[in-house]
């Protein structure tokens, strides 16, 4: 039975479409609509408007640059770390004085901010921290070259391994350069590739005695981490690339690395 006036029904129109009416009120509203063509038409018009706004209005998404700045800023805002074990090790290991200590401080605060228990978590955290750190201006590469024959020898004498350095420019992943990094308190090679606007850090480090493992994907804070191991070496690709593209990169890289040469622990 219709117990509502059109004025009342029009006031209930929006909350009704938004699912905000109590059941009894909604029933009364529906009963009025069944009896009133004008209010039915008003409802149809309103529904079309709402659906138009929902489907056509732009929902802004946070730019990548903002995400990265936030990770650094939030890290800086976190309280000082209880332990400085990592920075001191880093400092001893790195040669650049001021650069090393500022990166170490940054790393320590990021470590704290991203602190999570568990070995895998700890490695994920290291990987993501290293990736974020590399995005700080001028921290991306130690050796900047698109030439694999420049990048590969650069690691000689700096690392106990000689990673394969395929250039995948022909496949849309040009080599940007290489860098020394530090994961799980051990040195690692970081190969830097680019895909459109996206940076990919591929970390390579010795993992003797570890069984070969197929690629395994993790997501953290909007970044994808793809990890695998093979022939006593561990690999991790970290990027804001989406999953299929990062997996595509991994397959290309593996294939080219096998074609070129195997990583040889020295």
């Amino acid at each position: 039975m219709d117990s509502l006036t059109c004025d009342t029904a029009r006031r209930l129109l929006d909350p009704s479409l938004d699912g905000e009416l109590e059941a009894t009120t909604q029933l009364a509203f529906d009963a009025h609509l069944a009896a009133c063509a004008a209010c039915r038409e008003a409802r149809a018009g309103r529904l079309a408007l709402i659906e138009g706004v929902k489907s056509q209005t732009r929902r802004h998404t946070a730019p990548d640059g903002l995400r990265q700045r936030l990770a650094l800023q939030l890290a800086a805002a976190a309280p000082p770390p209880p332990s400085t074990a990592l920075p001191s090790r880093r400092r001893a290991w790195l040669t650049g004085g001021a650069w090393a200590s500022s990166v170490a401080a940054l790393a320590a605060s990021l470590m704290l901010f991203l602190a999570t228990p568990g070995q895998q978590d700890s490695l994920d955290r290291d990987l993501l921290n290293a990736h974020l750190r590399s995005l700080v201006p001028d921290h991306l590469t130690d050796v900047q070259s698109t030439d694999q024959h420049t990048v590969k020898p650069w690691f000689n004498g700096r690392l106990p391994l000689s990673p394969p350095v395929p250039n995948l420019a022909g496949d849309g992943f040009p080599l940007v350069g290489g860098r020394l990094d530090y994961l799980d308190q051990r040195p690692a090679a970081a190969l830097v590739y680019r895909h459109a606007r996206h940076i990919i850090n591929l970390f390579v480090w010795p993992a003797a005695g570890t069984a070969a493992q197929p690629p395994h994907l993790d997501s953290r804070n909007g970044y994808n981490l793809l990890q695998w191991s093979k022939d006593g070496m561990a690999y991790a690709a970290v990027s804001d690339l989406n999953r299929p593209e990062l997996e595509g990169f991994q397959r290309l890289w593996e294939k080219s690395a096998v074609d070129n040469d195997a990583p040889a622990p020295r």
Partner: protein, 187 residues
């Protein structure tokens, strides 16, 4: 691998913040962009809001994290707009005036701000965007929170610090105005 037991706020505030608050970053940015109507300002607002959120993280509950964060974003955006005079622009419109005077499409023709050219470029495809950007702030925020962030009236009331009845009336009037403006421009 990522299953974790819930941490107390003191246990690891940072980790908790990452898991509970950061996933709403896009929502925060969307609201900031719609309130400020300028991408650069929106980034600043979100950065400031996130730092505030981290500082006051103890006040956040997981179930209401999104509206909690959006309320902070909204407050930061209002602070900025007030400081830059952006709010005064709409002061004489008296958007709470119940008779609706001033709340017509014509009322926005004389504003000196030109949101179209800043945030919204493609005239045809972005017509709705442009119309929404023209809405006075109190109406725009309610509309964006409802249609784009899909918050309930209760959540919108918390974000905008207004009674639920005001949410309802502002939303209805924002939609009335949009409908009218849209009809006028599209015959």
């Amino acid at each position: 691998m990522h299953e974790r037991t819930p941490a107390s706020p003191q246990d690891d505030k940072s980790r908790w913040f990452q898991q509970i608050v950061l996933p709403h970053l896009d929502a925060a940015y969307n609201l900031a962009a719609w309130l400020t109507r300028q991408p650069a300002d929106a980034e600043d607002v979100v950065q400031e809001a996130m730092l505030r959120a981290l500082r006051f993280a103890d006040g956040c509950r997981e179930a209401t994290a999104k509206s909690w964060l959006l309320r902070i974003v909204r407050n930061v955006a209002y602070d900025r707009l007030t400081a830059s005079g952006g709010l005064a622009l709409f002061a004489d419109l008296n958007p709470d005036d119940p008779d609706g005077s001033g709340f017509t499409t014509d009322a926005f023709g004389g504003t000196t701000e030109d949101p179209e050219s800043r945030l919204l470029k493609d005239q045809d495809r972005r017509q709705l965007d442009r119309l929404i950007a023209l809405l006075p702030l109190p109406y725009r925020e309610v509309l964006v929170l409802r249609e784009l962030e899909e918050l309930s009236y209760k959540e919108i009331a918390e974000v905008a610090a207004i009674p639920i009845g005001t949410v309802m009336s502002r939303l209805a009037r924002a939609r009335d105005w949009l409908h009218k403006a849209w009809s006028e421009r599209n015959g």
